[in-house]
């Protein structure tokens, strides 16, 4: 059923990584992504890979679970790698297949490109895998709030994400119901050409939009009744507090970043 779909790919757990403050994890993910673009040699990649492996092991998220969610993205990476292999020229010619050839620089670029993308995707997905969507929202709000003075709507963005997370399952269920109801009235979504198929979506989309507006109207009223008045005056039940764990993680992150920078400069 549609309601079984997990969102944000959260893998429930109680590991050390899971329990880190979401702000620390968001910053760590950003630093990691930045580090991947600093790295330009094999040793650097080895360090980045080791760091990621350590995070995966500590988080206890099964590797198969991580990879399963990334199948489609890997296809894109393979495509990019192949393009790079054949398109980028320079250095010795390694292989020649008819009009196509792989040259040294192409191989080199393709390898780094692939390594960087794979680490980047797995690294950032570790954030969503180990952080509940709702904590992620809280973390983003907390990190953006200093910028609210210069007009970044931190609270509003976070509230929008919270509500989206809450209502996506409801809307999926609603879609399922509407589809079935229209099928019962003889609607056919499977056959015909592209245009007639697109047309056949109208009986689903219109009721769905109207339903979404109805939800928005009701919800706005309910939020007002519960004294919602935007981000000011608002307190939080789970005020985020940094613990020793978060300090330790921050130190390790700093060490990692330093190592990556040093290697780039030295080698």
């Amino acid at each position: 059923m549609l309601r079984d779909i997990t969102l944000g790919q959260y893998y429930p757990g109680e590991s050390w990584i899971h329990r880190l403050d979401p702000r620390v994890k968001i910053i760590a993910a950003l630093v990691y992504v930045a580090a991947l673009f600093i790295v330009d040699n094999l040793i650097g990649f080895a360090i980045a890979l080791a760091a990621l492996a350590a995070v995966i092991i500590i988080s206890k998220v099964p590797l198969s679970f991580i990879l399963k969610g990334l199948k489609l993205i890997f296809l894109i990476i393979i495509f990019t790698v192949i393009m790079n292999l054949f398109m980028i020229k320079g250095g010795d010619v390694l292989v020649e297949i008819g009009p196509l050839s792989i040259e040294e620089k192409g191989l080199y670029t393709a390898f780094f490109m692939a390594a960087r993308l794979i680490l980047l995707i797995i690294g950032s997905s570790m954030l969503t895998l180990t952080t509940k969507p709702i904590s992620l929202t809280d973390g983003i709000e907390a990190l953006l709030s200093p910028f609210s003075k210069i007009g970044v709507p931190a609270h509003e963005l976070a509230m929008m994400m919270t509500i989206a997370l809450r209502f996506i399952p409801t809307l999926l269920e609603e879609t399922d119901k509407i589809m079935k109801a229209q099928q019962a009235r003889g609607a056919d979504f499977e056959s015909g050409n592209l245009i007639s198929r697109a047309k056949s979506l109208i009986p689903i989309l219109i009721p769905l939009f109207i339903g979404a507006f109805r939800i928005a109207h009701d919800l706005a009223m309910a939020m007002e009744a519960r004294c919602y008045r935007g981000g000011q005056h608002r307190s939080r039940m789970n005020a985020m507090k940094l613990s020793g764990r978060d300090a330790a993680a921050s130190v390790m992150l700093a060490v990692f970043l330093a190592a990556v920078i040093v290697i780039r400069i030295v080698l």
Binding site: E174, A181, A184, R185, P203
Partner: protein
Amino acid sequence: MSIQVNNLTHIYSPGLPHESVALDDVTFSAEDGEFIGIIGHTGSGKSTLVQHLNGLLKPTSGSIIVSGTDITGPGVVMREIRKKIGLVFQYPEYQLFEETVEKDVAFGPRNLGLSEEEIEERVREAIGLVGLDYEAVRERSPFDLSGGQKRRVAIAGVIAMKPEVLILDEPTAGLDPKAHRDVLEMIEKIHAHEENIIILVSHNMNDIARLADKVLVMDRGKLAMQGTPEEVFAEEERLEAIGLALPQPAQLMKMAREKGLAFEGSFLTLDAVEEALYNYLKKDQI
């Protein structure tokens, strides 16, 4: 026209850890012109059952024979099933989408591939049958109508397909008492006019007791009981064990019996109770 359901079983996510049996060996039949009531808790399998009857879900095993055709069999054309069996979902007004009432009601018949004259004829008839004035509403947007009227339009959309079996899942949910009565009256009128089989899913025992020829009681995917309303509501203990209430008149008489008053027989309607109490009280009072 008849419908025969044999050993219908439906398992959600078979083989997975969250496998669940939604329907377990359900067997029943309905004959021409019968009015069937289905009762049971939310999650008892009522909705899963009616979705099978319409071909929206395929059973894991078992068959559904409608006038000699097994609609669960391979190569069955869905359009043929939908010509025979109409299903009105809960809160059907949430499926309206056309600019005018007329166009919305025509959606079903058009999908059946009928001719324009036939469609217009059916739309006119269906809108009349649900108690709306065809000329007054045909050009109006369905979204400007009142809640009760929207529901009628949505029901008309299914009736216009002229199904031989009309299934209604909680057609009165969320309506006020007046609209509730109106919708039930309308269903009775359609039943009399079309002489079709009606299958009414409802939580309202009073309505079921009053309208149904046969009652099916669903409990945790199984067909727990079936029979006339008198037979089913006589089994007070079993219904209580399932957690279903009696119709209110029957509740009153049950409580009176428990206090030691001698009222024999079944009291499913207010009229029956009124008669019994009148006879009981008049000897003392009149």
